[in-house]
C-alpha cells in the first residue's frame, strides 16, 4: 500500500490517538505510519545501548508491537505522550535483554504469525566509495581518531589512552574531523 504523503503533516500524538480511537477496528494506515516513525528511533536507541544490529531490530519489534497492542486496547493512558511511553518501554526491555530474561523465541511466538506485520524503513547507508575517499582526505591524526572512535564506538578517554593524547584533545580532533567528513560527504568544499 502506497504511503499517503499527507501523513507528513500529522504528528505522532495524533497518530497514536487515531490508533487508540479505532476501537474494535484496526487503523492500518495510522499504525503503519506510527510504526515506521518510531521503529527508526527505537532501533537507534537499541544500537546505542545494545551495540548489536539484531538485538536493536528485536527491540524495535518487541517495543512497537506491544505499544500498538496497548494503544488498541486503550491501555495507554495518555496517547499524546506516546514518545515518552515508547522510551519507557525501551528502557525496560533493554534492561530485560541485558539481564538475559528476554527471549527472542517469545517475541516470535507472540507476534510471528500476525497479519499486521509493519515494515520499518531500511537503515540509512552511506556510499562506501565516497566515504573511503572522504576518510582519505582527512589529516592522518583525524583519520586515526575517527577510525578508533567509530570502529568499535569508543569514548574519547579510551581513544586518548591508546594514542597518548588527552580526552579533551580527542574530542577537539573528533569534532573537527566530523565536520570535514559531513562537508565531504555532502559534496561541500571544506
Amino acid at each position: 500500500m502506497e504511503r499517503d504523503s499527507r501523513l507528513d503533516a500529522v504528528d505522532d500524538a495524533a497518530l497514536a490517538r487515531r490508533v487508540a480511537a479505532a476501537g474494535g477496528r484496526v487503523d492500518s494506515e495510522a499504525e503503519a505510519e506510527l510504526y515506521r516513525r518510531l521503529a527508526k528511533r527505537v532501533r537507534l536507541y537499541g544500537l546505542r545501548h545494545l551495540r548489536d544490529e539484531q538485538a536493536a531490530a528485536d527491540l524495535a519489534q518487541q517495543v512497537l508491537l506491544t505499544t500498538l497492542e496497548r494503544l488498541r486496547a486503550g491501555a495507554v493512558r495518555e496517547p499524546e505522550k506516546i514518545a515518552s511511553f515508547v522510551l519507557g518501554m525501551c528502557r525496560m526491555t533493554v534492561l530485560e535483554m541485558r539481564r538475559g530474561s528476554w527471549r527472542r523465541e517469545a517475541l516470535l511466538a507472540a507476534w510471528g504469525d500476525r497479519e499486521e506485520a509493519y515494515e520499518a524503513r531500511e537503515p540509512l547507508s552511506l556510499d562506501r566509495d565516497r566515504l573511503a575517499g572522504c576518510l582519505e582526505s582527512l589529516a592522518a591524526r583525524e583519520r586515526s581518531v575517527v577510525l578508533l572512535t567509530f570502529f568499535a564506538d569508543k569514548a574519547a578517554d579510551e581513544v586518548a589512552a591508546a594514542l597518548g593524547l588527552s580526552a579533551g584533545n580527542v574530542r577537539v580532533i573528533r569534532h573537527r574531523a566530523l565536520g570535514k567528513l559531513r562537508a565531504c560527504l555532502s559534496g561541500e568544499k571544506s
Binding site: R41, L44, P123, V145, L147, D153, A156, L165, R174, H175
Partner: protein, 187 residues
C-alpha cells in the same frame, strides 16, 4: 521537518559513545524520541559509524592505528598479518588472499617525542614516488608506530619496495627515529 532546539552535534556524539552521565543522557533520549529532525541527524551519525566499520573491514582505508584497535580488529574476526620491524630493519612481506589486512609495527624509541612524521618512498620497477605523512598518531609508551595500509590498494600493487623513515618533529626541528624497509611481494 525542523527542530526549534536541536541537540548539538557534540552532545549527540557524546551520547552515542556513552560519554555522558545517566542524568545527562535522559533529556537527550527524551528529545530524540519526540523529534524526527534530531533522529535523522542521529541516523546519519549511526550510518557514519557503520560505514567506517565496513570501510575498515573491506581494507579501503589506510591509517595509523593503536594496539587496542589492532586487538579490536582481531576480535571482530579479521585475519591480520603483522610485521614487526626494528629500526634499520628490512622485512619480506606479503598480503595473501586469506588475509584481511596487514599491519606494520615499526619499533622506535618514542619517549619524549611530540610528533611523528613518516617519509614513505615507494619503488615500483624503476619508478619512485615519495610521500610525507604528517603527525602520525602513536602511543609514546608503546615503543612502536603501527600502520594499517589499505589492503584493497595493496592488492592492486605489483612487487615493490617501500622505505619508511620515521621522524620526531618538534620546535627545534626534526630527527630520525628509524628507517624501515618493506619488500612486498603480491600474495
Amino acid at each position: 521537518m525542523t527542530c526549534g532546539k536541536p541537540i548539538e552535534l557534540e552532545a549527540l556524539v557524546a551520547w552515542w559513545l556513552g560519554e555522558l552521565a545517566p542524568d545527562a543522557e535522559a533529556p537527550i533520549e527524551e528529545h530524540l524520541f519526540a523529534c524526527a529532525h534530531c533522529t535523522a541527524r542521529l541516523e546519519e551519525l549511526a550510518a557514519l559509524a557503520s560505514g567506517v566499520r565496513a570501510t575498515v573491514r573491506e581494507g579501503r582505508v589506510a591509517a595509523g592505528i593503536s594496539v587496542p584497535f589492532l586487538e579490536a580488529l582481531k576480535r571482530q574476526g579479521l585475519r591480520i598479518r603483522e610485521y614487526r620491524v626494528p629500526a634499520g630493519g628490512r622485512v619480506e612481506c606479503t598480503l595473501r588472499a586469506e588475509d584481511d589486512a596487514v599491519v606494520s609495527r615499526m619499533q622506535a624509541s618514542l619517549a619524549g617525542v611530540k610528533r611523528v612524521d613518516a617519509l614513505q618512498r615507494v619503488e615500483v620497477g624503476g619508478e619512485v614516488s615519495e610521500q610525507r605523512v604528517e603527525d602520525l598518531p602513536f602511543d609514546p609508551a608503546a615503543g612502536e608506530v603501527l600502520f594499517l595500509p589499505s589492503a584493497a590498494g595493496l592488492r592492486k600493487m605489483p612487487a615493490h619496495t617501500m622505505r619508511v623513515r620515521l621522524l620526531a618533529v618538534d620546535e627545534a626541528g626534526e630527527r630520525p627515529l628509524g628507517e624501515y624497509t618493506f619488500a612486498h611481494t603480491p600474495g
